[in-house]
């Protein structure tokens, strides 16, 4: 065989090598390619000069060139470097923050996001100051929803103090759709309720007066149920699902964050004028009354309160309460924030010892190190507490849905204990994690760090090594007392 097959062979080999060289890190690429090309050149010429260049040896050489990909991959993903990376990376402060952030994002990707944003987002109702919620007061005997509805419809026609009224009755329900069975709250509402709230459906329509007679099995879904059962299907109108084993037809979907008296209602159905035989305590009644826009909200509330107390059709032992929708929403948010702040302060007071140790063992001298140390601690702890809060809200929401469906248990003692336990664990971990970090680069020490008590530290009797792999820190040599 002559020069030509060798040139062709080398051409192919060099192209393979150049292709493989893209895998090699840029800084090592030239030398890597030089070595491989040199080897191939020598091997090819050796084969030709020794008369061994044949189809078989050509294929053999090409096969060897494919091995360059494995070598190049080794250069890119050096096993020792990769192992070292997996050993070192989890100890860095960045990893810690990223890991907590990732957990937070995962938590926020689910339903808690809607709770959290629902708490912060203003209610999507028109003029919530003049919109009053009528509710059955605590410890008051149960009231049939039909009684309240009839009174509301009557009083909204007769009284000058009311520009519009609507009634509803809510209950825990089971909804069965394409995505399975779900525990939700459902409500029967009078047709004018959505107009009174100023809510426009994101799909389809809400109820009309004619629906009471012609469409008793119509239903309007909340955004959450539309998401969970139909995965935001735009063609959901006209489809059906089962609400407490009764087939209902979907006529509309509401926009997100539409709450009814701080409750997340999943399915709405029409509240007909005819009464239906209901067991006591089966449904809970409520009503919404809108005061005229020109009236002062506080005065309007007082006057409406008088009107409610004079209602003849409501049993005398039933106590009704009244609150504006804005106050109801903000009362809930305020109580949440107050409870959160109280829980946090109590926790900080309870954990003063670990905090004191954290202060006494914090870096000294270099202002940048001190700043980074405390900022990292604050960020890590804040993110952890946020994650705990979201988990608590979600757990409480699930518990609330199963036990009656109000969002108020968030402020209940049970929820507070849950948050305390979670927050104590989170803060304890955060402080422990901080003790075991380099005071300069904030990397976790490889070996366990055993810090002495605060007093011991002042007396310089701890004898603890505070040196990380990077050589930062202080190698403490205990003094002879």
């Amino acid at each position: 065989m002559g020069e030509r097959p060798l040139k062709r062979l080398l051409w192919w080999c060099n192209h393979l090598l150049r292709l493989a060289s893209w895998i090699v890190p840029r800084g090592q690429r030239v030398e890597w390619l030089r070595e491989w090309e040199g080897e191939v050149w020598h091997w090819g010429h050796f084969l030709m000069e020794s008369g061994r260049l044949s189809r078989r040896t050509e294929k053999e050489l090409l096969r060897h060139c494919w091995g360059a990909f494995a070598d190049a991959t080794w250069h890119r993903f050096n096993r020792i470097a990769v192992l070292s990376f997996f050993h070192e990376w989890p100890r860095t402060p960045r990893f810690c923050i990223f890991a907590i952030l990732a957990a937070l994002v995962m938590l926020l990707a689910g339903d808690p996001a809607s709770i959290f944003s629902g708490l912060i987002a203003p209610p999507p109702y028109a003029d919530p100051d003049h919109l009053m919620t009528i509710f059955v007061a605590e410890r008051s005997p149960w009231l049939a929803p039909e009684l309240l509805r009839d009174w509301v419809l009557q009083v909204s026609k007769e009284s000058q103090l009311i520009s519009g009224g609507a009634a509803y009755a809510w209950r825990p329900s089971l909804v069965r759709g394409p995505s399975g069975t779900e525990s939700i709250l459902s409500a029967r509402v009078t047709p004018g309720l959505f107009g009174l709230l100023g809510i426009r459906p994101s799909l389809g329509r809400t109820f009309q007066e004619t629906d009471l007679s012609s469409c008793g099995d119509c239903a309007v879904l909340s955004d959450a149920v539309w998401r969970s059962q139909f995965h935001r299907d735009g063609n959901v109108i006209g489809r059906s699902l089962f609400l407490d084993s009764r087939q209902v037809q979907i006529v509309g979907v509401l926009p997100p964050h539409c709450r009814l008296a701080a409750r997340e209602i999943g399915v709405f159905s029409p509240f007909g004028t005819g009464s239906r035989p209901l067991l006591p305590m089966y449904e809970w009644p409520g009503a919404l009354l809108r005061a005229p826009t020109g009236l002062d909200p506080i005065k309007a509330r007082e006057q409406l309160e008088t009107l409610i107390n004079q209602a003849d059709s409501i049993p005398a032992n039933t106590k009704l309460g009244i609150i504006s929708v804005r106050d109801l929403e903000y009362e809930f948010l305020e109580s949440c924030l107050a409870w959160f702040a109280f829980a946090l302060l109590f926790l900080l007071a309870l954990m003063w010892r670990p905090f004191a140790r954290l202060v006494t063992t914090s870096p000294r001298g270099n202002a940048r190190d001190v700043f980074r140390w405390w900022v990292f601690f604050a960020l890590k702890s804040a993110l952890l507490l946020m994650a705990i809060l979201i988990i608590c809200l979600d757990l409480v929401r699930i518990a609330a849905l199963r036990s009656g469906g109000t969002m108020y248990p968030v402020v209940s003692a049970g929820a507070m204990w849950l948050f305390w336990i979670g927050a104590t664990l989170a803060l304890t971990w955060s402080i422990r994690d901080h003790f075991g970090r380099c005071r300069s680069c904030l990397k976790r020490f490889g070996a366990q760090v055993n810090l002495g008590s605060a007093g011991d530290f002042f007396l310089e009797r701890t004898g603890t090594e505070l040196v990380c792999d990077g050589g930062h820190g202080v190698l403490h040599i205990p003094h002879t007392v």
Binding site: R34, G38, E39, W41, H42, G67, A68, D71, I80
Partner: protein, 105 residues
């Protein structure tokens, strides 16, 4: 504490081959019968562990002979010590490479 790295069979054989005088990649492949995808990463690892050392032949020599320069590998002192320990574990090594060497002659 014994700091000598534990070598795999492949790495030890590559080390023994270099020790026997085969000092560049394709020659080692030819003697050991290992594919290039095994030999080269093994060479990189041994070099990283400082058991072998590589050096380019001078451009002057390569230019004079009208060919590209080659990279040669040789054992370091640590490499020799490690190989001696590996030979104790893999007793057939010396025989294998010596047999191959005499066959090629």
């Amino acid at each position: 504490m014994n700091d000598t790295p534990k070598l795999s069979y492949t790495s030890a054989l590559v080390l023994q081959t270099i020790s026997s005088g085969y000092s560049y990649g394709f020659d080692i492949m030819d003697v050991t019968g290992f594919p290039s995808g095994t030999v080269y990463p093994a060479l990189r690892r041994l070099e990283q562990l400082e058991l072998i050392k590589s050096n380019w032949e001078t451009e002057h020599t390569a230019f004079a002979e009208q060919r590209p320069a080659r990279k040669y590998y040789r054992l370091t002192r640590e490499g020799k010590e490690t190989l001696a320990k590996a030979i104790e574990r893999y007793t057939l090594f010396e025989q294998l490479v010596s047999a191959e060497k005499s066959k090629r002659r």
